[in-house]
Symmetry: C2
């Protein structure tokens, strides 16, 4: 069982839009044991779509195409399906009714001819109902391959995948089991981790694959198992994870797919019934944004301030003006004062604070671009560390925010 995902749209090829649809579809297919072996992004061009369909014919069992559907003139997928399957467009009255009703309900106007023409579909296509939009999905088969076409608007695409495609695929195909487990490590680089687990990795059973997913400050290790016996896969993944724990237990901070530092922090704070606040300068709200991306975070994240300008550190946070004058705004002393003030005004058990220069230009202070002080206020006091993160700006912000969460996690663990 192999699948390919094709995204149609010039806006992707010129880099105007990042394709997030393919990742969603891939995850959905992976969950039901269908392996995606290739993703493609191609232009809104009939011949290019035709060539791509032909190249995937019988090479993939399932081909899911998004984009190139919709009411305007650059929409070509539907016509290309007619070419490829030697079919013609016919008006589907049930579909037209859906389009007319949706336009009237959502837009509060009557449907135009262009809207109504979205009910024109290849005569032999099985319609994939789009309850949340006017462009229908289509399912057509040729040889051993099912080709599907979906609109590119993410929430319409998601709706059709979840409610139409996945149930249909589950019914049609027998699939193997695919299991993943991700082990998150912090504080050591990819190569160091790799050396520590080299022998273990070499002795992994053939049906298990290991991947390294490094990002600044951490490495995730992903184990993937594929086979027909779910219990065997599960047990083997568990026993291999146990062995790994024996080898690098000191740097393992969590397990499971999608387990980010902010999720782990949330779980830890909830368990300890403790709270956190943040005062951010150069990270500009990134820490607050990461923390609040977790559902239920209002229970333990008291809040944050983004005091970007020096004056707001004084006015809003209440940092001592003299302290800033004596130490510079980018300093350990100011970071620590910010953390203590955030802890106090939010009434939190812990607080993190950042002050630094993310670049590319120098800000209020004379600090080198890339210099960040991160401070941690805990029930036992306050301390800070200096990070030299270089450039570019986004890396500085990302690393400082990640570092802050990581370190405060360790502090909370101690308390």
């Amino acid at each position: 069982m192999k699948a390919a995902i094709v995204t149609v749209g010039d806006e992707i090829l010129i880099g105007q839009i990042v394709d997030t649809n393919s990742a969603f579809i891939a995850k959905s297919l992976d969950r039901i044991g269908i392996e995606v072996y290739e993703m493609l992004s191609i232009s809104d061009d009939r011949q290019h779509i035709l060539d791509t369909m032909a190249s995937l014919q019988d090479k993939a069992d399932v081909v899911i195409i998004t984009g190139g559907l919709g009411p305007t003139k650059d929409d070509v997928t539907k016509k290309t399906f007619c070419d490829y399957f030697d079919d013609e467009l016919v008006r589907n009255l049930e579909l037209e009714k859906h389009v007319v009703e949706l336009i009237e309900k959502a837009m509060k106007r009557t449907a135009s001819q262009m809207n109504k023409d979205q009910a024109l579909v290849p005569s032999r296509a099985t319609i994939l109902h789009n309850a949340v939009g006017t462009a229908p999905g289509m399912w057509m088969e040729k040889g051993n391959t099912v080709f599907m076409s979906l609109p590119g608007v993410p929430y319409e695409m998601k709706h059709i995948v979840e409610h139409e495609i996945i149930p249909k695929l589950v019914e049609k195909y027998e699939r193997p089991y695919i299991l993943h487990k991700t082990i998150m490590t912090y504080g050591q680089g990819e190569s160091l981790v790799a050396e520590r687990i080299e022998n273990w990795e070499d002795s992994l059973p053939e049906f298990i694959r290991l991947a390294y997913l490094p990002s600044p400050g951490r490495v995730r290790l992903r184990l993937s198992a594929r086979g027909t016996n779910e219990a065997v896969l599960k047990n083997t993944i568990e026993s291999e994870t146990e062995k790994l724990k024996g080898l690098i237990g000191d740097i393992i901070v969590g397990y499971d797919e999608g387990e980010t530092m902010e999720v782990m922090l949330g779980r830890l704070l909830t368990k300890k019934n403790m709270t956190l606040a943040a005062a951010e300068s150069c990270t500009g709200g990134q820490i607050a944004q990461m923390l609040t991306s977790v559902p239920g975070s209002s229970a333990y994240f008291k809040g944050g301030v983004v005091t970007y300008a020096t004056q707001s550190k004084i006015d809003v946070l209440g940092v001592d003006k003299t302290l800033i004058g004596e130490n510079s705004v980018v300093s350990a002393a100011v970071a620590e004062a910010m953390a203590l003030r955030a802890k106090a005004i939010f009434g939190a058990d812990f607080a993190v604070a950042t002050t630094g220069n993310a670049g590319p230009l120098k800000g209020d202070a004379d600090a080198e671009v890339g210099t960040v002080f991160v401070a941690y206020a805990t029930p036992n006091g306050v301390f800070s560390e200096r990070l030299d993160l270089g450039q570019p700006r986004e890396k500085v912000i990302d690393r400082a925010a990640n570092k802050a969460l990581e370190k405060i996690y360790q502090e909370i663990l101690k308390n």
Copy 2:
């Protein structure tokens, strides 16, 4: 001049990671007039990489491959280059020196053998220097095609594209001009816009292409011109834009490629010498984070508070406790009070505030999941609007933050 972009990595094919590298590379190539005709994501598998390279041979002039480089065992691109170009790995001493120095400086430890082996490269490869990481980029040619391999870590990839690849491509190839102009419209759907400009669209010159990029609440229209005479392209795009303005001037809110709302806001505030602050509840720092993602934003973004818990709205922002009691924390009155308080404590000309329930669980208030109040404080007063954004959580946060920036932009325009 055609290019293809290939991303190597199983983490993309299972949907664990969204590929943002390809969009960055595409945008960089587009800017120098190189058309990307296809993007592919494939597995970490030697044969798959080989097949893909062979399929692009002489079909693309430039093939840029990211991922599959790095110190661990699942890195295969380098070895595959040796296979494809019938070459062998040799140790590059200059590279090894760079790796050793970088590890010592950044990690404060000595380089391991695995680190040092990153200096093993195909003997005939031209090295693309990676100043910010240990995995080198490579450039190798066969027939009419240049193949390049880059590490998948985004900031390393970006550095090499900007500092190595683009200058080399500009020197090597004569390229046509590609010009884009994006016209941003708000408030009417794709089909309505399409009907209003149908005649104009039909009479566009052949070297200009129009694309519709719809997203919730807005449609961007992208004009792309391609040719050898830059002046002709520029003039035609300008005159066609003028015609468009005559047709749908009422819904056009801005122009230009890559222009996000936060960038436009920054430019507008700078021009007017005015400032902005934010008080966020359900958007949890997203607004601050968007604003501060723009370099130089410290000049006009005074700062923000993330008052997630009801108590912090009182303690930190100074919202009246009785007001919250009488209106509920998710209400127009509280949103407006938050905006006014943020404007006051940060001493800003404008402020936005959000309070709502992003879900999936109900928070401090009884408001329906998906209900958000956004308030706008301006030099002339304060007002708010209620949004019903449904679910999921991320959509609620995203839409509320975008809506806030969009609306305050319009308010600043008026002042």
